[in-house]
């Protein structure tokens, strides 16, 4: 199978030092050719964002589209009346996206998508929001275009959390919890510490998060509102306090505590702060993740000798093992479809991301990097982000769920790790 050659795309620099750069390493055969023409701008001064460039990069990153370079565009239409299909047919462009950006403190992005061969408009829409969210409006347009052309809901207008580390050995390292758009744009520091931060996790409303911080000199779970910046320490037990996971309805949180002798899974009611113990086994039970119906958890346990994935019914406590492929499986999570399980699998000393279809019981390794961890699936189930090493640096990487599309996201400085992909977001 032919592979697309390596393409390097550098994002425009943003203020944070730990912002991500995207390097596409593999795309699909026969990507769809699309021309995303620079959008018209009718506001004051020059456009604050190159909306067409954001959309084009989104589509290219999906691996399924080959955007046309601007210098190869024979025309620059911004309205339907200016579209000459002949200009695009001659260069085998299949789709044409044009649009207009307008507004001041509130912006509107209007877009129109044309099928070049059928010579007709197939999609028209607009996105409106505050000026500082213009990039997100562009991502919303990408979502709609992607959905129109693939049938799958787009996940470009989403955000990611990750941890950026400036590691020093004999001095204090700096740990930063970062929030960025799913394309790495608008990266900002949400929390900074000289003690470790790990396991960031999104609440289903996309407005609050949880993570583990060592700021008290012991690991503890924190709740943090992205809107207000308010933080609350949820646990303070001796031993492990880790792996927070909001339930699908947002009312509880699964977590790992070792206060009762060894690491076990608990569920905390976020309203009452009461704990319910879910596993009772002397082995290590950790890394809980929820099934979309909220009725069971999957988790990592080495009760069988080495780490494997198990599923426990929350009401009955009945537990069964899920992974029988590979000697070592950990950190599993389930996509929204309820059947695609993503995890880390180790074999021969190499750690890859593996995907198991729970219905058909097939397992596929989807990465060729060898020190992989922390996979996080996009809300549309099409791509996943994970952490790995590239040379000596910690980077993020992305791969489509079928393994056909890959790209890397190293940071400009330091190491990055622990990505967490947000749910679909209501507001930009």
């Amino acid at each position: 199978m032919k592979r697309c050659l390596v393409l390097i795309i550098l994002l425009l620099a943003s203020q944070a030092r730990a912002e991500l750069v995207i390097e596409i390493t593999q795309g699909r055969d026969n990507p769809t050719s699309i021309a995303v023409v620079p959008f018209a701008w009718s506001g004051w001064g020059s456009a604050p964002e190159d909306v067409a460039d954001v959309i084009q990069a989104d589509l290219q990153r999906s691996g399924q589209f080959a955007p046309v370079a601007r210098e190869d565009m024979l025309g620059l239409p911004t309205r339907e009346a200016e579209v000459y299909y002949r200009d695009w047919r001659t260069t085998n462009v299949e789709y044409l996206l044009i649009g207009r950006v307008s507004g001041g403190s509130t912006m509107t992005v209007e877009y129109e998508l044309f099928d070049v061969y059928k010579q007709e408009r197939v999609l028209q829409g607009e996105a409106t929001g505050p000026a500082e969210d213009l990039r997100m409006l562009a991502h919303r347009a990408s979502d709609k275009v992607y959905q129109q052309l693939t049938g799958i809901r787009g996940a470009f207008a989403t955000r990611i959390l990750y941890v950026a580390v400036t590691q020093r050995v004999n001095a204090l390292s700096t740990f930063r919890l970062m929030l960025a758009d799913a394309d790495g744009g608008r990266a900002e520091t949400i929390y900074e510490s000289n003690q470790p931060i790990l396991s960031p996790n999104w609440a289903p409303d996309g407005k609050t998060i949880a993570y583990v911080s060592f700021e008290t000199t012991r690991p503890a779970i924190y709740w943090h509102s992205l809107e207000t910046g308010a933080r609350a320490q949820l646990t303070n037990f001796k031993g492990l306090n880790g792996a927070p996971a909001f339930s699908p309805d947002g009312n509880s949180m699964a977590m790992v505590l070792s206060k009762d002798g060894n690491p076990d899974i608990y569920i905390m009611d976020l309203g009452t702060r009461e704990l319910k113990r879910i596993t009772r086994h002397y082995a290590i039970d950790t890394e809980p993740a929820w099934m979309p119906d909220g009725r069971s958890l999957i988790f990592t346990s080495d009760r069988g000798g080495r780490p494997q994935i198990y599923q426990v019914d929350i009401l009955s406590g009945q537990t069964e093992r899920l992974t029988y492929h590979g000697p070592w499986n950990a950190r599993a999570s389930i996509a929204a479809d309820g059947r695609t399980m993503v995890m880390v699998q180790q074999a021969d000393g190499q750690f890859h991301i593996a995907i198991q279809d729970l219905v058909q019981d097939r397992v596929q390794i989807v990465t060729s990097t060898t020190l992989d961890e922390s996979p996080s699936v996009a809300p549309n189930g099409s791509m996943l982000l994970y952490a790995t090493k590239y040379g000596e640096r910690g980077i993020l990487a992305a791969v489509s769920v079928d393994g056909g599309v890959k790209f890397r996201l190293p940071s400009r400085e330091g190491d990055v790790r622990e990505p967490a992909w947000s749910p679909y977001l209501d507001n930009p």
């Binding site: 050995v169 070792s258 290590i284 950790t286 780490p307 000393g349 750690f351």
Partner: protein, 176 residues
Amino acid sequence: MKRFTVAGKALSVIFAVLWMVGCATTTPEPDTSQADADRAAATQAAADAKRDAAMAAEKKAQKALEDAVAAAGNVVYFDFDKSTLTVVTRRTLDAHIALLKTNKDSLRLEGHTDERGTREYNMALGERRAKAVKDYMSVKGVSGYRGEAVSYGEERPVALGSGESNWSQNRRVEIK
């Protein structure tokens, strides 16, 4: 009873005479107060020397224990994915235990792993290692109440980079 009283009086006279005779038979000696003082001083000096020697021996023993701990170091190491104590680890811990039995210091045992594997599983593995050390010390007489086991998982490596030469340095428990 008259007879007793007479006998009692006689006895007490006899005893008094005897006592006076006893005292009287202590012949007045030449003045030995200086010799007495010397002897007392010598006894005291001997006692002091004995105490000093004991303290010195104790200090020497204590220093030996501290030297043994310094020589053994504050870090013990583990094999990949394991929390079992090696022979070298146990000898190191024995040195610490010997010293800890002479004081009331509390400890913090910090468990670590190398970078391989998933972060939260490594948090649990780091804790398992710290607890293995704590349990060994407890069995050998250092009460569990004195120590706290804290895991840093893979978050605080001492050796950055991949490969076994780095990984083996990171799979450790630090005794603080």
